[in-house]
Amino acid sequence: MFERLNAVEPPDMHIIETPFKASNAHPLAALTATPDRAPVLTLESVSVTARTSGADSVVLRDLSLTLAAGKTLGLVGESGAGKSMLGRILSRQLPEGFKVTSGTVDFAGQDLLQVSTEQHRQWLGTRIAFIPQEPMSALNPLMTIGQQMTEHLLRIGVGALECPERAILALEQVRLPRAAAILQQYPYELSGGMCQRVMIAMAFASLPALVISDEATTALDVSSQAHIISLLRGLQEQHGTAVLFVTHDMGLATHACDDVAVLYAGEIMETGPASRLFSAMRHPYTQALRQAIPEMTGPLIRLKPLAGQMPGVESFPDLGGCRFETRCQYAVELCKQRPPILQSLPDGQSVRCSRWAQIDLSAITPDVLGEHTPGQAMSGLQILQIKGLSRTWPGQRSWFGRKPGVEALKPLDLSVAPGEFIGIVGGSGSGKSTLARLIMGLEQPSSGTLILNDQALNFGEKDWRRRISSIQMIFQDARAALNPKRRVGRLLTQAMESHAHLHSERSARAIELAANVGLARSAIERYPTQLSGGQRQRVNIGRSLCDMPQILIADEIVSGLDVSVQAQIMNLLLDLRKEHKFSLLLISHDLAVVRYLCSRVLVLHQGEVVESGDTEQVLSNPRHPYTQALIASVPPTRSDAVWRAATPSDH
């Protein structure tokens, strides 16, 4: 369906010449260079069926895609939409009980589903390469980078004598400095961004026809992400590789891909050129996703999260009509009855909605949704004052005494007013998590004082009680932070365990808290594993509110969540603030999230505050070069904006 792009006139060209053209995601730039590129991958009405306890469930329905050489096709959607399923079909790694039941997968003229297992394995790593989601854990921890590179190079047919040279060349191609030394190192000695470069070097070593990148940049911080994307684009253009780019980040997809397919519950809802899809979307789901993403520029609009959650695989057989119907604000009776088909439109987009022509998505404008203000100070009081707080790690012991220490956090001053939401941003290793742990008392500061409610906070038993009754921490990974063997009700009221409470008192509080964080009353009796990711994060937040703290410290609490859930959680925090008047220290690498929630921001870089002030001011007029670079790394949500992150120099 994407060949039709040839006929499309460019709407307006924003071609910026950068060495690797990372900012230029325009599909037509590549097309004009080589007019007809052969499709590398063609999927024709592929369906995957899963055996569930009930009826067989079609987890991927009628998937048709074409990916041409040198092009990038983005697959976006929330978790559970089936984005990764495509990669699993191609790698023949479908989960137990899942089977491709119909359709063909044509890879460079051969049916990928029909070739022998041995033939298929031969193709993996040579003609089809994968870039994984977690670069740090995708490399064998017991083998040096060199050993793993050599293994791969030998496998793709490089002679043993050439291997060292080729390995260095491959690492230099992904712009890793001191490649020869890196070959001697182990994965744990490298950063996540460096590991991902190694993975990319391996993926491109055999000059494959197709590269599948499954959330390859999700685990990296924004500046590494921008570097990796620019690298990927560069290698792709150099070798004419087709890239299948799976991501949950719509902003990233807009700028990293030529074409985008939006998946929901195992179906393609909408496809089209990346540059147009999010500016001229047609499907209500695409629109809903778009409305849930906080903006980096423009007026602050209250986000409109999608109600409910995506149906699970088990309930697919019960969905007779459109799979999005239950959450669609435009749904009518007809939508329930028969599934809509994917209609191709003359301008190159396709949409799976029977009512797309009747819906006027542009009717939903910012002013309809209403203005929004982030969490501002409610009074001039200062509940927490931080003076000269710092943390230095003692240096490693060596033959001649100690090496100089590492300053994880340089002396920092900060005061927190009631109701104030303060964002703390910075890359990995900037000291933002150290700051959180110091305030929470999980680590001893090297110097500095904390003054809580005009009284110094020390490290005695009494101080600890005072600290935890006023300051609470919400941990990043709700799945790991909640004891899987305890019911939600007990988890919510965990703070009450330190004192004697009546059972009835405790369950009453659990009901109250569940209602506060928007959980159904029935959820109280459940276990965390029975909840969705968003619900778990609600429990996590509710638990921290149990003792009515004055200050919440939230470490990346929305970063692992889908956009619609992220919007729900952010709105929840703002609503709870009105009621409980707590302050929030939000640690995040996502500047748009900080902008949406926080009235004040601190930018940390290498343990030092390089910039701070009013969020709007800092983000619109950054003074420090690091802040400027950080802001530039964020892929803009607007498709016509230019993503200037791709600087060839290394960090």
Partner: protein
């Protein structure tokens, strides 16, 4: 983790500092074990002196006068405070002198050196047999995962794990020794054969002197005791390896390697096995003392003149000097095995090498 090395790798650090650091770590390990040995010997010493058995009663004739006993007691230093006795003993022990055996009147050190090779030979053969059988059956059962052989092997393993080494010895003697008469089960070598003593290790001596018949005899005599000991080593290894392999196969790097087209066999042997071996090797370290202690009964059952047999005799005669010395020898052996284990773990796991 060292952040400077993460950002600034340099060749010199990688090529010179790494081996140097490894040697230093091993040296530190060895030094750190010395006080442990001293404490062990002190504990044994005090306990032996605390037992209400008077070694003099074993030495003197029943009709000896109390003056005789006192004189002998003074001669042996038994009338001094225990800690002083220990000090003298330690001083001598550090020079390699463990005193005179009350039982035989010969030097304890010489007796132990005479018997030790037999035990070390048994231990070595037992460990080797155990490793081969354990790794083999662990890998095999994992390779057969999903088939009905996997639970069959694991069930058998579960039964075998419950059988102690001396019971294995008896089972093997009855089945292979007495029943089938395939292998001999008494003594270190055929009574008719002689091996010239060079190193004390009969396997090595028979080879060095080019005596093929003696070598064959030594191997066949070692087979059953080594097998009995090996079965004890093998069963937990197989179980641990099987479980760790299953766990490692869920790791991202296995998945990523498979996506690079690495075939199943190199995937198992090159990527999974090394990672799965880590907990297994650690387990061997934990088990080492049990296995080394096990030689005591195995040697007695098979009539091997090792330190186990020596120990049993010394215990019967309450030969304090010998018991004391042997306890230290056992402790040193366990420490050496643990040292080797931690060296092996450091060889395999780079993270253990670098952490300060």
């Amino acid at each position: 983790m060292n952040t400077t090395s993460a950002t600034e790798p340099n060749i010199a650090m990688v090529l010179i500092a790494r081996p140097a650091r490894l040697i230093w770590l091993l040296l530190r390990q060895a030094l750190w074990r010395m006080p442990m040995l001293i404490i062990i010997s002190l504990v044994v010493f005090v306990i032996l002196r605390g037992i209400p058995v008077d070694p003099l009663n074993m030495l003197v004739p029943p009709n000896a006068s109390s003056a005789d006993i006192a004189r002998l007691s003074h001669q042996l230093g038994l009338d001094r405070p225990v800690l002083v006795q220990y000090g003298y003993w330690l001083l001598a022990a550090l020079h390699g002198d463990f005193g005179i055996s009350i039982q035989t009147g010969t030097a304890v050190t010489a007796m132990i050196l005479e018997a030790l090779p037999t035990t070390l030979q048994l231990l070595g053969a037992g460990f080797a047999a155990g490793l081969v059988m354990g790794l083999g059956s662990g890998l095999l059962s994992f390779h057969l995962r999903g088939t009905r052989f996997e639970p069959a092997i694991m069930t058998l393993n579960g039964i075998m794990i419950a059988i102690p080494d001396y019971l294995w010895a008896i089972v093997l003697i009855i089945s292979l020794g007495v029943g089938l008469q395939w292998l001999p089960f008494v003594g270190p070598i055929d009574a008719a054969l002689q091996v010239r003593k060079l190193t004390g290790f009969t396997l090595l001596d028979s080879l060095l002197s080019g005596n093929a018949a003696a070598f064959a005899s030594v191997v066949s005599h070692l087979a059953l005791p080594a097998l009995a000991l090996g079965l004890c080593v093998a069963t937990p290894i197989a179980r641990m390896l099987h479980a760790s392999l299953a766990e490692v196969y869920h790791e991202d790097y296995i998945h990523a390697a498979r996506l690079r087209g690495v075939a199943e066999k190199p995937l198992l042997l090159r990527h999974a096995l090394r990672n799965a071996a880590l907990p297994t090797i650690a387990l061997i370290g934990v088990q080492a003392s049990v296995i080394i202690g096990g030689t005591l009964l195995i040697e007695t059952i098979f009539g091997l003149p090792g330190i186990g047999a020596l120990m049993l005799r010394a215990l019967g005669a309450f030969d304090m000097q010998t018991i004391q010395a042997l306890a230290v020898v056992y402790a040193i052996t366990v420490q050496i095995v643990n040292l080797v284990i931690s060296w092996a773990l450091q060889r395999i796991n780079p993270r253990l090498r670098s952490s300060p």
